[in-house]
Symmetry: C2
Subunit: 286 residues, 2 copies
């Protein structure tokens, strides 16, 4: 037992429960292999129909910066990779509270840099993520911008958590109807990730950042979630900063409803739209 685990005895139990609830199998026509990227473990997805010209997708999973892994999200990410026909790498970034902010952003940036260093043309590279991983995808692009790296061709985020100050109206207005979260639960994720660090830091709450220079962005969100305003304000701020942005709000859909592909029409429709967005942006340069 590490020092961090002794300090957070419930986190391992919470992670096991999350994995049990969330994990779905990889689609049959997608092969996976473990790899490393930027010094971190990762899971790579190669769809049978992958088109090598369509480049690469770097995926950052959700789980409040505390829970989840490429394995808990292997079904979702495999479905996205399959539908977009894009070879995808899902990163096992370091989790809080053992590794608080900015560890996850450092890992996201290192993975992005490793893909560029490995010869991937940024015009053939996209990022995606859900929930905390959606916020982390935006933060990674901001960190890449600050590091002087080129931006990728596109970024797609599902129910992104972009405001760790919890200042969106929907945090209260949607709490009753949100089947996934309570404000207390969201707050404990922010507490474990940030400790006593500034919750307004642009790499922690990218909705508060200057988003100038970010690539074409797709933002998907459900109307039955407390994080609705995290998505709406991200799109508004990105648009105001001259980013090409599309926001899609699904009525009566909960947080990361895309996980329910195969059971919920909206989930399949949203995944298809995200896949088309990514494929179109990655095809454009050639």
């Amino acid at each position: 037992m590490t020092r961090e685990q002794r300090h957070h005895p419930g986190t391992q139990t919470e992670r096991r429960g999350f994995a049990e609830v969330m994990t779905r199998p990889v689609p049959d026509d997608v092969t996976t292999r473990t790899t490393t990227l930027g010094g971190r473990p990762a899971l790579e997805f190669v769809p049978a129909a992958a088109d090598a010209r369509r480049g690469r997708l770097l995926y950052l999973h959700g789980g409040g910066y505390v829970l989840g892994s490429p394995h808990t999200h292997a079904g979702l990410v495999g479905e996205l990779a399959r539908r977009a026909r894009i070879r995808t790498t899902s990163l096992e970034y370091r989790l809080a509270p053992e590794h608080p902010f900015p560890a996850a952003v450092e890992d996201g940036l290192a993975a992005y840099r490793a893909l560029l260093d490995g010869g991937t043309d940024p015009r053939e590279l996209a990022l995606a993520g859900d929930s905390a991983g959606g916020g982390l995808a935006i933060a990674t692009l901001l960190a890449a911008r600050e590091a002087g790296l080129p931006q990728p061709a596109a970024v797609a985020v599902m129910s992104p958590w972009t405001d760790l100050t919890l200042s969106g109206d929907s945090i209260s207005s949607k709490e009753e109807i949100d089947p996934v979260f309570t404000a207390d639960r969201v707050r404990t994720f922010a507490d474990r990730y940030l400790g006593d660090r500034d919750r307004t830091h642009p790499l922690a709450s990218p909705v508060l950042a200057d988003l100038t220079g970010l690539p074409p962005m797709l933002v998907q969100v459900g109307s039955y979630e407390m994080l609705l305003d995290d998505a709406v304000r991200l799109a508004g701020r990105a648009g105001a900063a001259d980013v090409d942005v599309t926001l899609q709000v699904w009525p009566r859909a909960p947080h990361v409803f895309q996980h329910q592909y195969g059971h919920l029409d909206a989930a399949d429709a949203a995944l298809d739209r995200a896949a088309r967005f990514l494929a179109a942006r990655l095809e454009a340069p050639r």
Copy 2:
């Protein structure tokens, strides 16, 4: 000269100037004919490739509730009708200051009701509009809801003017970069339309309304316009009210940039996306 024209001697000159600047020809493969709808003159567009099963589109043109007509927008509306392959009726609603609020909304509602009374299935009917006509399209749907009429299959708005109180941040933050408007100019349109009426009335400023029950909505806007926040907040409010909404922000595009089809790639792309949205929603019910 009518009494109203004596009171507003510059309006006719302003209308002629607007018509000279704006009017573009109807596409070759779209035929037009004058008609009446709900007691008002209208211009009907029938694309050569129109698919009768695809129903009808009711279009409400822009011009600050003061300027414009189906003729000034015949090129834009013809392009939308052609690309969506939808028979389209563009309404000559009454203009301010001769006919202030709520005359335009009354005409929009009468036209919508006339289409339903004429046997059009609401599932085969959509609304669209630009600028003031975009706000008017939303107001018309709210008026239809209050009148107990069914909602149509979809609504698509381009750079909608939805807040006649001018309370959006972009009214000031984008004034320098907006090549079309100044805050003073927008305010004179609101003054002529509303006089001393309440600018927060939900049928005048539909972004302030409860948008519950509205149909799937597409909102397009440019990032170089003072009305950016009218669009972003409309999408956010609609989403929060469980409306199926898509917001598309085009970077560095001005107010109703779709008018520049054939000259500006973003204009053609936006019209194509609006057309696909409408066609898909009108095809779905059957």
